[in-house]
Amino acid sequence: MNVEIRIVDGALARPAERGPGCGVGAVIAFEGVVRGEENGRAITGLDYEVYEGMAERELERLAVEVATSHGLMAVRVWHSRGFVAVGACSFRLEMESAHRQASLRAVAEFIDRLKRDVPIWKRAVEDRADSSQAPNRAGQQN
């Protein structure tokens, strides 16, 4: 099993092309993209706050648990910290398995548990200059 966790500043870049491992029959990728509105109000982006050290550890623990329970061959997770503009990618999840059902089920479980257990918070930013302010306000889910 291959698990990779990365928390990076700002929006996520396009991933490099890579070939699936031996025996992989399904690669499922999910990307979370910042919407242009939050609670009915126009926004310019989302500002992500991360509890450094714990967030990475919880993401890895979650990835290993989900990979083990669903028999996945690989899990790769990228998550942004700081400001991410509307339309940009702030979260990417890739899973590889022998058959599609395992990865499809695992993606849904991983995201549900991420939104419950991983110490990351997002705050809607209505004005770009507002992104440097400290308090965060949780918004709706992607």
Binding site: R57, H79, R116, A134, P135
Partner: protein
């Protein structure tokens, strides 16, 4: 002993600070500490009762004692992804 509890996300705005301090007996468990936070910092009462504590960057186990020098954080209303 004094416990400095880190807060994040919407809790920062509610508390007006990134850290709240409470005086407790050494060895207080995580549930009792959450109750004490709720009592001493009323704007955080709901989050303290519904949320979880992390001790040294891992979720506290039920009944886990908090000791001098532990890094304690209130984890509530996470919204990643």
């Amino acid at each position: 002993m004094e416990v400095r509890v880190k807060v994040f996300g919407p809790a920062v705005e509610l508390a007006g600070s990134r850290v709240v301090c409470v005086r407790v007996e050494p060895g207080i468990d995580e549930a009792a500490l959450r109750n004490q936070i709720a009592a001493e910092v009323p704007p955080l009462a709901a989050l303290a009762r519904q949320g979880r504590l992390a001790v040294n960057r891992a979720f506290a186990r039920p009944g886990e004692p908090i000791m001098e020098g532990d890094e304690v954080a209130l984890i509530a209303m996470v919204s990643g992804g």
